[in-house]
Amino acid sequence: MTASSPRTAAGPDRPGRLNPLTLLAAAGSTAVITTAAGSWPLSLTVLAASLGLSAAGGTARRVVAAAAAILVPLSLSLVMLHGLFFPEGTTVLAEWGPGRVTAEGLGFAGRRILQLGAVVLALLVFSFSVSVPDLVAALSARGVQGRFAFVLASTLTLLPAISARARRIRQAQESRGLVVTRGLLSRVAAFRLQAVPLVLSLVEDAGTRSAALEARGLSNAGPRTSYREVPDSRLQRTARAVLVLVAAAALVLRLVQAGASA
């Protein structure tokens, strides 16, 4: 995650925004290098940098919430597993029956958590800051099939689309006397009423929309162009190549080390 400020990716009109592939290369190589290196100072640095970037980009709250959802259960299981049952552990801190809490085990779990956290955060910062239209445009410009680019884009816009539709159905139902309060139970009960209409309307929508998409040439075999201009530069292209090479090198180095120590 070198010079990638996510803030610049949010506004399409902003000058100096980065190509989404550069962001992808940065996030991907960061994840690979951190995993390959297995060094906790590096993990910690990446973690801090990712948090800093997401704070600067205004996505910190969503990134942290998503990261917590992924990392908290994972961290707990790592602490349980390695903290209690680490075979090489010698410094015993506490003992219950077959389980021994060892300093080495806790240290190992801590390093793993840091490493995982760094990878997850780097990827989350990317996915929350990348502009989906830019990414799709960049991919189609590189000859990715229109249909595939469409599927990718719809996958990324699916959730907002579904929630918008669900909201419309809920508004229609509320306008006819469905009382939804802030309570969880009330919301669950309301969702039960919305689920069937939601699915049916999505299916029906897909049917009518497909005729429009076909008529507008979505399945055309020939080359296609992109209206949206995705910024790119020689510097970014070089940076992407370097990032990919460094990630590959880190991977090779790691494998060689593993082979040597085996």
Binding site: A10, G11, P12, D13, V132, P133, V136, S140, G146, F150, A153, S154, T157, A161, A164, R168, I169, Q171, A172, Q173, E174, S175, R176, G177, L178, V179, V180, T181, Q194, V196, P197, L200, S201, E204, D205, T208, R209, A211, A212, L213, E214, A215, R216, G217, L218, S219, N220, G222, P223, R224, T225, S226, Y227, R228, E229
Partner: protein, 518 residues
Amino acid sequence: MDAGKAVRANRPVLAAGIRSFTFHDDETTALRDVTVSFAAGSFTAILGASGSGKSTLGRLLAAWLPPGGHGALAGFLELSGSRLEFDGGPSDPRIDPAQWGRHVGFVPQDPATVLSTVRSTVAEELAFGLENSGMERAAMKAAVGRTAALLGLHDQLEQDPARLSGGQLRRLAIGCAIITGPPVLVMDEPFASLDAAGADGLAAVVRDLLARGTAVVILSQAIDPLLLEAGTWVVLSGGTVTGSGPPAAMGTGSGVLPPAIRRPAPVPAPVAVSRPGVPQTGIPALQLRGVDFAYPAGPGARRRLRKAGPTGEPGGPPLVLRGADLAVHPGEIVAVTGPNGAGKSTLLRHFNGLLRPTAGSVLVRGADISGAPVGRTAASVGLLFQQPRDQLFERSALREVSFGLARLVGPALAAQRATAALASVGLADAAQEHPAELPASAQRLLALATVLARKPAVLALDEPTVALDGDGLALLDATVRLAAAEGAAVVLVTHDLGYARSVAHRTVALDGGRLVPA
């Protein structure tokens, strides 16, 4: 019956001879003995009431309903001189919708179905078809600019298509159809939900296309003024052609036009004062006091704001409503007019709390609704949404009307009310039908029935006349007047000034976020 007589001299760019067309899941024939042909630069209106088979014909002509896919066609389709014969069997030719779409542009009745949903701005949505044909960016930019100028969408180019108003959305759908320059343009009810300026704009677009040699086909259940300029009228009734010829030969006296086809209502002179008989004393059924409203600024809104300059508070999002005041008494019918995008639908959504004012208050029967959940206010306020598809979600018309009724009046009375409401809009026979499969006019009436069944104290109707044919309009008119006579306060939002003035006791205009007498 041959619609092409007037243009026989020219070779048609598109023609169809439909002996019969039947949907796979339906036993009755949707279309039979329909022969139409369209020459370059010709202007044809296909007129028919809701359910006459207009939309099916339009979708067949545009290959949005490819024969073999959803139904069996016996007959032929002819495009630029090459004829495809169908007999409904497995050996029928296959149509490539993309190839066909290059020659025949289509604007469906529901403009939202045109949107690709994966493009983030109106400009990109317009360019979608051009991208797929591999056009260079410079040429695309020029085409998008030209089309936007033609349709008056220039100010919306950077806007999210999902946030357009109903009328703007229709213009976008038309733009998506014409941007690739197809030799034939077929439009299904293009005037629905367009304000006067939008209808004039559309008329200019049609004239421009005709001058350039495009064959224009408009499917309509109303005789909009533009259609008087058509070379040929084709009348469709019960799935077959019952008359065709130049408009002059098919006037009111000829008996060719079914009564359900709407004619433009003359705009009566404005009524300056309230009609007698509506007491404006006591507690209003609905009252708005100095209501301000602004949509929260999203990333897109912030962009727009930068472009347009702030119109609300410094740095804040622009106000859609500013200090809106309104009082409607029981039995009173008030029409709210205003151009597309003025905030009319936004205003109505305040009546039951779907939207909450940023300042000011909304009172229903004298009580402030700010703390009440929408579902509770809904007992007193019935809201008809602009799009029936936003209102209908159930599996059958009867279930649709019955939703939430039992909670309101108890199960016994609910069944009675639901049946009565369906009957009042002429849908007693359609009780078990799926709402999505009803014709557009019937969908709108069903949505109206769901509101009427609740007998609310305040009836808020958003563009109720859109998509209604003549029969539907008569039903709407009767039910609205009846509801008011029974003591409901009715607020209807419409761009149809003629209807507004004919039914309402007074008309107010939404102008710059304020309600002013019109």
